[in-house]
Amino acid sequence: MKELCNRYDLLNNDNDIIRVPFLIKGTIVSPPEIRREAIESAFPSGNTDRTYARLPEAQVIRERVIDRKTMKYTGDYLYSVMPVFEAEDIIETDTGKLADGLYSLPVEAILNYMERIMDILLTDFTCVLEVMETWRLTSEYPDAFIEQWFAAIQSVFGKEEARQMINNELSFGGKPGSLFLDGWTETDGRAMVRAMPTRQLHITAGNVPEVPLLSTVRAILTKSCATVKLPYGAVLPGALFALAAASVPDHPITKNLSILYWQGGDDNVENRLFTSGAFDRIIVWGSPEAVTSVQSRALFTRVVTLNPRYGVSLIGKEAFSSLDEVAALAAADVMIYDQKACTSSLVHYVEGTEEQANEYAEAIRETLSRWDSEAPGFIAPSAVGRIKRLRRGKYIGAGWHINTREGNFSSGLAVVPGEFDILDHPMSRLVVVRPTPSLEEVLNYLSRYVSMAGVYPEKRRLELRDRILARGVSSVLPLGSCDRTWAGMPHDDMLVLSELVDWKNG
């Protein structure tokens, strides 16, 4: 991996310009040499919103550099220069070749491949750390989170975790999933069933490395001839994985894997990729616009959507006898992915009066101030503006409990006696506290848009669990443990690997 980086001058931060390679069906494609003047002139001066430029021979992403001490934009930019490609380059239509090759690989060969990738990443861990340092320059996440994610890279590619995912998510008739992925398996003495791999297009989102990596791992584990579109904000970790895969160049998985970037909504690329027959599955993460755009254009391809959702916390009246302990648990659920994951808690329903809700909010504010000290967060200027609007306008009557850093919002809570439009939420260390006479009344506010509910105390969780789930919520876990994950767990009410294969009778 390091050798590839050195040979082609890849993923090296050269005075805020990085050359980012793509993996296209197993081949590393490097960007051309572009002069700095050409890169900078592609972005109009004075317009900080422009994040992407398409040059004749290259694509360029521009990201704003964040000062890690002040967690504010410095005014500088980091440019990722990437190659261009043709949609046809990544579409595979020779299904016979796939059936005889990639689709026939034994599960053990996939697991060994995963282990090999992990070995490459660990062997070249200095390369991983260099990419982490470059990625850190523009990451909106606290340093502690970034370091934790890169340190946890082993668990993403762990062989046993991968085996567990396959066996759990593709299990059928009480038999482990690996049997069905390996070939025809008898189920009840009469029928033979097989989990047939598919050609997958993964359109990932977000600016954390986990999402594109998890999507890539799912493609690999289902023996897919796959294309993974990296998201703006996480092309570097994705490209790192592409280089690791390219270090095993002759493996059938590598030869059928593409990892690249194009600007979402680019009709030149997407019209071809969304054509019927180009892929068997399209997996789309992300914004409402991305999800609905893909759904409306890929009418004849099965689309698996991982919609944006949010988390809530239900705090029973019992909390007031141990408020400090509850505050620590509740704040932990707020801080999952710095309040930007589908499991992060945005709204806390507190069983009690408005006065008690304010007491609760004050306890959480103190806990969040400790998080602000230990893991200072980046509050985007747009979020700062949005919070100002909330405080001065629509929610002027709320009870505001704010932490500040050098005079600026760093975290806080708003006790809102009436309803709160969730679309107003900035997802930036702001908790909306809603007093409620009883937790049962909160059920009215839960729907499929809510991914996670953390409940306190445990007795109330067990009482309410099934009724919360019946409203469409995916997980109901003890308060403070909403970041719990394990290999092979359901995701958005699905066993995702099962959605990525075709279940065949034969």
Binding site: N47, A205, Y310, Y337, Y445, Y449
Partner: protein, 223 residues
């Protein structure tokens, strides 16, 4: 985008159900509506009146398509005027190109191109900002524009981009100090058309919060 109300969830936006009748009226009875307009144009012209038509771009585009299908171009009295503003997308999300629309309007309604005007305004403002032939929306003196950065701090300069806010001197029954959701480019100086002062040259919407990771919100929803 899924309509929150369609899930039957209590606590969803209260006016969501009001959208359907509006859509049925505007989209379902489209031909009937446009025929009424062309009939009115004809009647006004026959009565010797000038005609002033105001609407959103996509509505004018649909009107022109109706006229083309009906094969009867209206003849309007000299001095008649067309003014459009806002709404560059139809109910189905189809974008309308400005130049094509201006040409289409001039041709379909038999009206000189200089009588096809574009304005920029909103419900909360008591003045119309008209676009000159050089592409600038000239802000009238009764409006004091203020451009804000993302953090909602006012910014100054002769060529600036940000959220459009204003102080409306004509607002007497409410505090006319507003920050809109429009993201604009505002310039100062003398325009080639001869007018001077602040003018808006580009108008877009303020981007929504970017989705980070898998967290996010699909639509308006009471919590």
């Amino acid at each position: 985008m899924p309509c929150a109300a369609s899930h039957g969830a209590p606590g969803t936006r209260k006016n969501a159900g009001q959208f359907k009748p509006l859509q049925e009226e505007a989209v379902g009875r489209q031909e009937e509506n446009y025929r009424r307009i062309t009939d009115s144009i004809k009647a006004s012209t026959e009565a010797g009146h000038k005609v002033f038509i105001f609407g959103a771009p996509y509505q004018f585009k649909e009107l022109c398509e109706f006229i083309a299908g009906d094969n009867r171009k209206p003849i309007m009295k000299k001095g008649s005027l067309v003014l459009f503003g806002g709404g560059w997308k139809s109910f189905t999300g189809e974008a309308v190109d400005r130049e094509s629309l201006a040409n289409l309007l001039s041709d379909s309604l038999n009206i000189p191109s200089q009588m096809v005007l574009e304005g920029y305004s909103m419900t909360e403002i008591n003045a119309l900002t008209l676009r000159c032939e050089h592409g600038r929306f000239h802000i009238p003196p009764v409006i004091e524009p203020v451009i804000f950065d993302e953090e909602l701090n006012p910014i100054k300069g002769n060529d600036i981009r940000g959220m459009y806010g204003f102080l409306d001197l004509m607002a007497v029954s409410y505090p006319g100090f507003l920050i809109t959701g429009d993201y604009v480019r505002m310039v100062q100086g003398t325009c080639e058309c001869g007018l001077s002062g602040p003018a808006v040259t580009e108008i877009g919407r303020v981007a929504g919060s970017e989705i980070k990771g898998c967290g996010g919100i699909m639509s308006s929803m009471q919590a």
